[in-house]
Symmetry: C2
Subunit: 246 residues, 2 copies
DNA sequence: CGCTGGGTTGAGGGGGCTCAAAAGTGGTGG
DNA sequence: CCACCACTTTTGAGCCCCCTCAACCCAGCG
């Protein structure tokens, strides 16, 4: 299988040497069972992770045990970058399905910045894009209703799954529980269920045993409150690479 | 006045050459009046900004006009980095008070990655820390009550103001309106007001014409739901710089 | 077949919203 | 110095979205 580099080459086309290097990272991968932690909040930060297969989630814990899932990660995503600036992880990484990851030690990041600036820049831009996505998520949770949140999430998810080649004709696996969905969107399990049911009844989507099919994209988009999120940035490197003076 | 580089040198001590370079960026600064936009959502991304003085906010707009303020920026913060991966800005930057900024064109970023990898790394880590802060904010908005959100925000704000040298003995300027606070924390103006009043009545803080004084830190912390956010990462560069093999 | 995790549904209550208006506050010009 | 204005803060009343608690159902599995 082709390793899922679509997130990495999005901004900077990889040279032969860089591609070689990137493939070298994947040598030792690790399987994680569904529900098992990859790295817990508070553990020392020894590196970051690359999700090769399966879904993962990053989450924060509150004092009283409530939990906020911050992001659902799909194959090709990098996990754990935010904690790179911390000595001990600020987020819990957890496999939402059986998953395959490989690790990427701290020192490799430093070395990349010194020796492969183009690749470092690609990674940098990729994490900035994550930040935009996170900002959008915050705006869903902070300023929209349950139905708007759910539809916005489904549209975004479909978009990302498609980019990873994991959705065909609006149809994709949906392996997370409604409880997890609640923790992700900041609502109770019960209300997730009701909202999901009522969305189902609009005819815009159809649900069935761990899969979802989008039947009416335009309808979904009308239900969501946020703009279509995409000001694509594929020319980012070109804009940043021109050698004008400081 | 010493330029506010505290956010930059947090991870990587600047060499003489780098410090020189950094000072060079500040040559042409621009004043922005309170309430005026620095860059609107959708405008072409020509660079990022460095906030020298005053408060700024970054926000997202929804279709129906609702707005989510994603972050309040203080002197020393970098603005607009998330949009660097996009051709057109995904966030609106706006002066919350009269502010002074200076600009930092795209090409300068590219050049920094090629020629000053240590500085690039410092910036990279700094933006990752922003991401952690954003994740924490999401967890406030998604999983906590109005009172918890407000107190968590005030504690975080005080922490950051202190780092910038803008708070003494728990006392600091607080120049934003309750409407803006509502858009920031995902609640209505009216409910911000009631919550603020009731917080005032606990005796933990005291408010007065654009200033706030924290009277009881322990009490505030008890009211907030999140852990003290800090796994400081000042040794980040050391962890990333050691020259072990890939 | 019983057990367990997840999905579904009902009833009731409360936190936060909307609408509306009054009471500061500061800025501006006469 | 005062009158007026726009903006902000404060307060009240009513209601609704979403939460909690509590069943019940369903499918998969040992």
């Amino acid at each position: 299988m082709q390793p899922p580099f679509h997130r990495l080459v999005e901004f900077v086309p990889l040279s032969a040497e860089e591609a070689e290097m990137a493939r070298g990272w994947l040598v030792d991968s690790r399987r994680i069972a569904r529900g098992k932690p990859i790295r817990q909040e508070g553990e020392p930060v020894k590196g970051v992770f690359f999700l090769l297969d399966g879904w993962a989630g990053s989450s924060l814990l509150l004092r009283d045990g409530r939990r906020q899932i911050v992001k659902v990660h799909l194959p090709g995503d990098m996990l754990g970058f935010p904690s790179l600036a911390l000595s001990h992880a600020g987020e819990t990484l957890e496999a939402l399905t059986d998953a395959t990851i490989c690790s990427f030690p701290n020192a490799a990041i430093g070395r990349m910045f010194r020796e492969l600036p183009r690749l470092a820049m690609a990674l940098f831009l990729s994490t900035q894009k994550e930040r935009v996505a996170l900002m959008q998520k915050l705006s869903w949770v902070g300023a929209t209703s349950a139905m708007e949140r759910l539809t916005a999430f489904l549209l975004d998810l479909h978009h990302r799954l498609q980019a990873a080649g994991l959705a065909q004709a609006g149809c994709f696996d949906f392996p997370i529980t409604q409880q997890q969905l609640g923790e992700l969107l900041g609502m109770s399990t019960v209300h997730i269920n009701r909202t999901f049911k009522s969305l189902d009844e609009t005819g815009c989507i159809s649900r069935g045993r761990g899969r979802i099919e989008v039947l009416d994209f335009a309808g979904l988009q009308r239900l969501a409150a946020s703009f279509p999120p995409d000001f694509a940035g594929h020319d980012a490197w070109a804009r940043l690479d021109n050698s004008s003076r400081f």
